[in-house]
C-alpha cells in the first residue's frame, strides 16, 4: 500500500497542465436551457410556490387568530357554557371582532382547502377521482366562505 503515492492535495498530474492552447481551444458548450425567441414565455406559472408561501404566512396569522378565538370561546369567562345568541350579538357589536372573525374565516378556509388539495393530490391516484374530489372540495369551500361572510355582514341582533 505504501508504494502507491497520492499527492496530499488531491490534484492529479493531468490537472496541473492545461489541455488547451490557443491553437487547440476548448470546445464551446451551449448552456442547456438557453432561452431563445422560440422558448415560450413560461411553461407554467408559479402557483405552487405562491400556495406554499401562503400556507406559511396564513399559518402565522392563524396561530394568533385561532388561539385567541379558542381562549375567548372555550377558556375565559365560564368556557363554552356562556356561549349563546346574546354572546354572539355582544361580540359582533364591535367591528374589531367582526374583522377578526372575517379574517379567520377566509384564512382558515383557504389554508384548509389548500391543505386538502395537497392531500387529494397525494393519495387519489386516478385522474377522475382527483377531479371529482377537488370539485367537491372547491364547491364546499366557496359555499362555506360565502355563507360565513354573508352571516358576519348581515348579522341582526334584533332578528326576533
Amino acid at each position: 500500500m505504501s508504494t502507491t503515492e497520492s499527492p496530499a492535495s488531491g490534484i492529479g498530474p493531468v490537472e496541473g497542465a492545461s489541455l488547451y492552447t490557443p491553437d487547440n481551444p476548448a470546445p464551446l458548450i451551449e448552456p442547456p436551457r438557453a432561452r431563445t425567441k422560440k422558448t415560450p414565455k413560461s411553461t407554467r406559472g408559479n402557483f405552487e410556490m405562491v400556495a406554499w408561501l401562503f400556507m406559511r404566512l396564513s399559518g402565522v396569522v392563524l396561530v394568533v387568530l385561532v388561539l385567541g378565538h379558542l381562549l375567548i370561546q372555550l377558556v375565559l369567562d365560564g368556557g363554552v357554557s356562556k356561549i349563546g345568541f346574546a354572546f354572539v350579538a355582544g361580540r359582533w357589536a364591535s367591528p374589531f371582532w367582526q374583522v377578526w372573525d372575517l379574517a379567520m374565516l377566509w384564512l382558515a378556509m383557504l389554508h384548509g382547502a389548500n391543505g386538502l388539495r395537497t392531500v387529494i393530490n397525494d393519495y387519489a391516484e386516478r385522474t377522475n377521482t382527483r377531479l371529482w374530489l377537488k370539485g367537491l372540495l372547491y364547491t364546499a369551500t366557496v359555499f362555506t366562505i360565502l355563507l360565513g361572510t354573508l352571516v358576519i355582514f348581515t348579522f341582526d341582533p334584533n332578528i326576533r
Partner: protein
C-alpha cells in the same frame, strides 16, 4: 446506512403524518362550525338549541380533542416554518419537535379544567 440520515419512520415522518391528520380533522370541523354559526341568521332559538349540544359532556370531550388537534397543528406549523426559513432549522428539527410536544403537553394539562370543568360539574354535580 449512515446513522441519523434515515427520515422514514422517525420524528420527521411522524410529525408530518400528525400534521396531516390534525389538519384534515380541523378542516372538517371548520365546515360544520360555519354552518352552526350561520343559524344566528335563522333565529336565536335555533342557534341556542344547536349550541346546547356543544355543552353536553360527550361533545365537551370532542372539544378537548379539537383543542388538542389545533394546538399540535399550530405549534408544529411554527416548527415547519422554522425548518423552512431558519438557516439551522433542518438541523434542529428533532429538538424543535420535542419542544413542540412538551409545550403541547403543558398546554393540554392547562386546558383540562377550563374545557372539561363544566362537563364534570354537570356529570358529578358542583
Amino acid at each position: 446506512m449512515p446513522a441519523g440520515t434515515l427520515y422514514r419512520g422517525r420524528e420527521g415522518m411522524w410529525s408530518w403524518v400528525a400534521h396531516r391528520v390534525t389538519g384534515v380533522l380541523i378542516f372538517f370541523f371548520l365546515f360544520v362550525h360555519v354552518l352552526d354559526t350561520a343559524l344566528v341568521r335563522v333565529s336565536p332559538e335555533a342557534y341556542d338549541t344547536v349550541v346546547a349540544t356543544y355543552k353536553t359532556p360527550i361533545v365537551a370531550l370532542l372539544e378537548y380533542g379539537l383543542v388538542a388537534a389545533i394546538l399540535f397543528h399550530a405549534l408544529n406549523g411554527l416548527r415547519v416554518i422554522a425548518v423552512d426559513f431558519w438557516v439551522k432549522g433542518a438541523r434542529y428539527q428533532k429538538q424543535m419537535l420535542w419542544t413542540v410536544v412538551a409545550l403541547w403537553v403543558v398546554l393540554m394539562l392547562g386546558a383540562i379544567y377550563p374545557v372539561l370543568g363544566h362537563a364534570a360539574r354537570e356529570l358529578f354535580g358542583s
